[in-house]
């Protein structure tokens, strides 16, 4: 076994960290407060090739792997979890299903501009009545000549309103439940597509989350992704990989919170000594760091498995479960280390704590991860 990252991976980490600290971190607090997405940051990520890390050069990517992609999401999330999830949804949720299930024409038309970063991707699965129970969706797609006509709406769409291209799931055959679901590539300017309510959220506030609405939205037949009836499988496989991205996001948030806590604990003096000199504080830091290391290893393992074409469903669920819980715990403790100051917006730890919570919810709640893991253990 070799736990060392390759030179290429180390280079990507260094590049993304520099970029994150110089270009992303300075405005993170303001963007959070103003609930503002900054397209300029995305454009700069595109220039660096970050918008298409795992995709081959023939589709506009840089031909690296999922581990490099996870490292990038982690480093972005270390300073700004919103920027991390923008890239994660763009790559894992929109890019991946097109790369995996799209035909050559679809890949050239949609994956390439997304990989090059001239277009942003989104993913439409969740509905008001079907969250964890994705099979209960009500959005329909009916074939009408050479078009599918979509009707319904999707909620909690990451990159909603800023994405140009969405991978959307709808029921093509109501009779056969899961097997009656199909996937479509929808452009934001298709007639009948509109963006609905924007959510006001606890955290990741500079990543827009909206409803998207299909009102007799006409989709050319050739925008069917995969086969009719293959939608549910595409959705679930996409989420398997998406979990790696969210696990990486959670690791990044936790690392950002730990770094801030270590610095503060060394500087803050109470009772005549830095607070880190108290075991009550230093043992806390030791526990935080240990959980982060374990989460990072699980995350990298899942990404390594995927990069090597091995099965990774259970491992990515474990990575997301552990990393999400770690992020929540570590950020809550980070606010504690900062005391009263940590509760204010003058320091980033309260933002980390608000951001961390979503990693336990989206791309499969922790309960869904436990379902996935326990089923694999007992099958």
């Amino acid at each position: 076994m070799n736990f060392q990252l390759s030179e290429e991976h180390e280079m990507i980490r260094k590049m993304v960290r520099d970029f994150a600290e110089k270009e992303v971190a300075p405005t993170a607090a303001d963007r959070d407060e103003e609930e503002r997405f900054d397209r300029g940051i995305f454009d700069k990520m595109a220039e660096l090739g970050l918008t298409g890390i795992p995709w081959p050069e023939e589709y506009g990517g840089i031909g690296s792997d999922y581990l490099a992609y996870c490292i990038a999401v982690e480093e972005l999330s270390r300073v700004c979890a919103s920027t991390g999830v923008t890239l994660s949804a763009h790559t894992s949720l929109a890019g991946w299903p097109i790369f995996k299930y799209g035909n050559e024409e679809q890949k050239q038309k949609y994956l390439r501009p997304m990989a090059e970063g001239t277009k942003i991707g989104g993913y439409g699965l969740t509905e008001a009545g079907s969250g964890s129970d994705a099979g209960g969706m009500k959005t329909t797609a009916k074939l009408d000549g050479d078009h599918y006509v979509l009707n319904g709406s999707k909620i909690f769409i990451t990159n909603g309103g800023i994405a140009d291209i969405y991978v959307v799931f709808a029921v093509t055959d109501p009779e056969s439940k899961h097997k009656g679901t199909s996937a479509f590539i929808v452009e934001a300017d298709f007639p009948g597509f509109s963006v609905g309510k924007k959510e006001r959220k606890l955290g990741i506030r500079s990543s827009p989350t909206t409803e998207i609405i299909f009102d007799n939205c006409r989709i050319p037949k050739e925008n069917l992704l995969g086969e009719e009836g293959q939608g549910f499988i595409i959705a679930m496989k996409t989420l398997d990989g998406g979990r790696n991205g969210i696990a990486a996001q959670a690791v990044g948030i936790a690392q950002g919170a730990l770094d801030a806590s270590v610095n503060y604990a060394k500087e803050r003096v109470q009772f005549g000594k830095p607070i880190v000199a108290n075991q009550g504080v230093s043992f806390k830091l030791a526990d935080m760091a240990t959980s982060i290391e374990a989460s990072r290893l699980l995350t990298y393992q899942a990404a390594w498995l995927e990069s090597n074409g091995l099965s990774y469903g259970k491992e990515s669920a474990m990575a997301k479960l552990m990393a999400g819980d770690t992020a929540m715990k570590v950020t809550t403790e980070a606010v504690q280390v900062f005391g009263g100051y940590g509760y204010t917006k003058d320091y980033p730890v309260e933002r980390y704590m608000r951001d961390a919570k979503i990693t336990q919810i989206y791309e499969g709640t922790q309960e869904i991860q436990r379902l996935v893991i326990s089923r694999m253990l007992t099958k």
């Binding site: 969740t126 009545g129 079907s130 969250g131 964890s132 129970d133 209960g136 909620i155 909690f156 959510e199 006001r200 959220k201 606890l202 955290g203 003096v269 109470q270 009772f271 005549g272 108290n278 009550g280 504080v281 929540m328 809550t332 606010v335 504690q336 005391g339 009263g340 940590g342 509760y343 204010t344 917006k345 003058d346 309260e350 704590m353 608000r354 919570k357 979503i358 336990q360 919810i361 989206y362 709640t365 922790q366 309960e367 436990r370 379902l371």
Partner: protein, 378 residues
């Protein structure tokens, strides 16, 4: 043991519950946008809630300590902001004058505080004196018939709104914490400067400010207690303050727990209410058990305090456990709500933001553990 509320206490609970529902709940959105609940405090004054434990001779309701705890509990279930305002106003804004003031000071300030005409605040914490309160740097120099105060305070709850501020300053820096003296400072005193309003994660609508004193002249008759008695005065009401915040935490935890139970019965996924899954049901069981234990710790500490018995260890345990419970239960409540819980359309994200401060103020959890450990090993 008698684990029952008296009739009077039950009446208090019903009254505050109604009041919170009809008067506070509709105002929450405004508080979230930063508005201080002045009008609500006025109405609470009319109902006698601003001086629950204050003797009638000073304009209070002269009720027992448990009734006061019940009031904070019920208020905090609806609004943690109103809960903390009342706790600070009573435990550290009013009580120091009641216990250490001269008859003249009591007559001058207590009736106004007890009826809600005045609001109280407590000014101890400084930038480099948080948990280490004895390290404060604000100085008071005596000159003829007054003291001149210079220095600054941070994280002052009710600051800027409070009419009466109990301010701690060093009259003899060579004596460390034994050189600290307490003063009653009115808001409009020249040299009393309200600084930055903290932008906080939660408790929106409660003001937390920095205060600066610039050559602020305080008449000798506004010194509270003797010179050097300040630290004793500050510590004397810690238990009451801790029980107050423990109660606030309990209220937040109860609110989050009840919301989670309701939602889990209504939300259907995979053809059944999510409560029917053990993954959710067991979570609710753990949350409910922790809330129940927190409640017992809080009311036990309150009962000891009411009987005038030692309650230092018990107050710290109540605060440590109730605040931890509030944070954990609020985080789990958001989890039960899933994606909806992360939005401002449901109150659980507010409970999440409000809960965290209960582990920090009026003695961090680390300070509570120090107190408890000392009691255990002495």
């Amino acid at each position: 043991m008698e684990l029952k509320f008296t009739e009077e206490q039950l009446m208090m609970r019903n009254m505050v519950r109604d009041f919170a529902k009809t008067e506070i709940e509709p105002f929450i959105e405004k508080m979230e946008q930063g508005e201080f609940p002045r009008e609500i405090l006025k109405k609470m004054g009319e109902l006698g809630l601003m001086g629950i434990t204050v003797p009638e001779q000073y304009g209070g309701s002269e009720m027992d300590f448990t009734s006061y705890v019940i009031a904070i509990n019920e208020l905090s279930k609806v609004s943690a902001v109103v809960g903390v305002i009342l706790s600070v106003h009573t435990s550290v804004g009013t009580n120091p004058i009641l216990y250490f003031g001269t008859e003249q000071q009591k007559n001058k300030y207590i009736p106004k505080l007890a009826t809600g005409e005045y609001l109280g605040a407590f000014c101890l914490t400084e930038p480099s004196a948080g948990s280490d309160a004895g390290a404060l740097k604000t100085k008071a120099v005596k000159k003829d018939d007054h003291y001149v105060l210079n220095g600054s305070k941070v994280f002052i709850t009710n600051g800027g709104e409070a009419d009466v501020n109990i301010v701690f300053a060093s009259t003899d820096p060579s004596q460390g914490s034994r050189g600290i003296t307490a003063f009653i400072v009115e808001k409009d005193t020249p040299g009393f400067i309200v600084g930055k309003d903290e932008q906080k994660m939660g408790l929106h609508g409660s003001r937390t400010v920095q205060l600066t004193f610039e050559d602020m002249k305080i008449p000798v008759e506004n010194r509270l207690g003797e010179e050097g008695e300040g630290f004793k005065i500050a510590m004397a009401n810690l238990n009451t303050g801790r029980i107050g915040i423990a109660t606030q935490a309990l209220g937040i935890a109860e609110a989050a727990f009840e919301a989670a139970v309701e939602y889990s019965k209504e939300r259907v996924q995979f053809g059944k209410p999510i409560a029917a899954n053990q993954g959710v049901g067991f979570k609710l069981a753990d949350m409910g058990t922790a809330v129940e234990a927190a409640k017992l710790l809080v009311y036990r500490a309150a009962s000891l305090r009411e009987q005038g018995l030692p309650c230092g260890k018990e107050a710290s345990m109540a605060k440590l456990f109730a605040s931890k419970t509030a944070v954990e239960v609020a985080i789990e409540a958001v989890q039960v709500f899933g994606g909806y819980g992360y939005t401002e359309d449901y109150p659980v994200e507010r409970y999440f933001r409000d809960a965290k401060i209960t582990e920090i103020y009026e003695g961090t959890s680390e300070i509570q553990r120090i107190v408890i450990a000392k009691h255990l090993t002495n």
